[in-house]
């Protein structure tokens, strides 16, 4: 008895198996990442002046989030995975910013 529910079930299973992008779209994402890397490397050869550090930080964050969202499928997966990963990441950033600030402001000189 091939009912409508069976077809829905099959379609849902099929959709769940192929969540994410198509192979062609993955290649486009990789090309964008390659271009961003090329811009990063160009900061070594070209003087970006006061934009040097902000450019590098922005590019780093964009590349990081792109890989996590598209290649690691966080954008398409359950939000719980996103919370798990980013809570670890934010905890790490907060703890080590505090750690570095401690050394910067409270270390004994001399």
């Amino acid at each position: 008895m091939s009912t409508a529910t069976d077809q829905v079930a099959h379609a849902e299973g099929h959709e769940a198996e192929h969540h994410g992008l198509s192979d062609k779209q993955y290649i486009y994402v990789a090309l964008i990442l390659a271009v961003l890397t090329a811009i990063e490397v160009s900061t070594y050869y070209i003087d970006f002046g006061p934009f040097f550090m902000p450019t590098l930080f922005i590019l780093m964050v964009v590349k990081f989030v792109t890989v996590v969202s598209y290649f690691m499928h966080l954008k398409f997966d359950n939000k719980l995975f996103t919370y798990l990963f980013y809570s670890g990441l934010l905890l790490a950033i907060a703890v080590y910013c505090g750690f570095l600030a401690t050394f910067k402001f409270f270390i004994q000189k001399g």
Binding site: G13, A34, V67, F71, L100
Partner: protein, 203 residues
Amino acid sequence: MAETAISHGHDAGHGMHTSTGLSNNKLGMWMFLGSECLLFGGLISTYMLYKGRVNAGPQPDQIFDIPFTSVSSFILLMSSLTMVLAVSAAQRKDERNMNLWLVITALLGATFVGGQVYEFTAFYREGLGFTTSLFGSSFYTLTGFHGVHVSVGIIMLMALVGMNRNKRIPGDRAEVVEMIGLYWHFVDIIWIVIFTLVYLIPS
């Protein structure tokens, strides 16, 4: 009956009968990766703290070979593409392409590790040993830990190819490939951070 059928369809996609409705393996892997952020966060901040402490031996900007490291970084970035194509092939049950992309990913990873070994050798010859300065210790510890993670990833990829050929992968094969893919992409994103903070930003 409809509920049963829809539930079956859902499980076919995620392969789990858990209280959260999510794969425990995947949940565990994301928790592990979140905790790995703390490990690498510690190593990166230690490096940031000590990169200017050079009492002996070369300074960071005297020995870093940016063009060489840029090529290595690009290779590792492209290995993320080949890994995601392997995951995509596994989800389509395209075994031939899955094995092909897994082997290519392992080869790209091996090229990256080879480049790192070459870089370490070159730095050592230029006078930067592990105990030469605090910069040297923190640099080798950070990039060495990352290199070990890449090497473990290569072993997992090759083991996966071998197990797949012998039909010994337990459970949902696409999910196993995805788990190893998550680990592989993680070492890539860590390198994105290391490449910027360690190599591109001068001391």
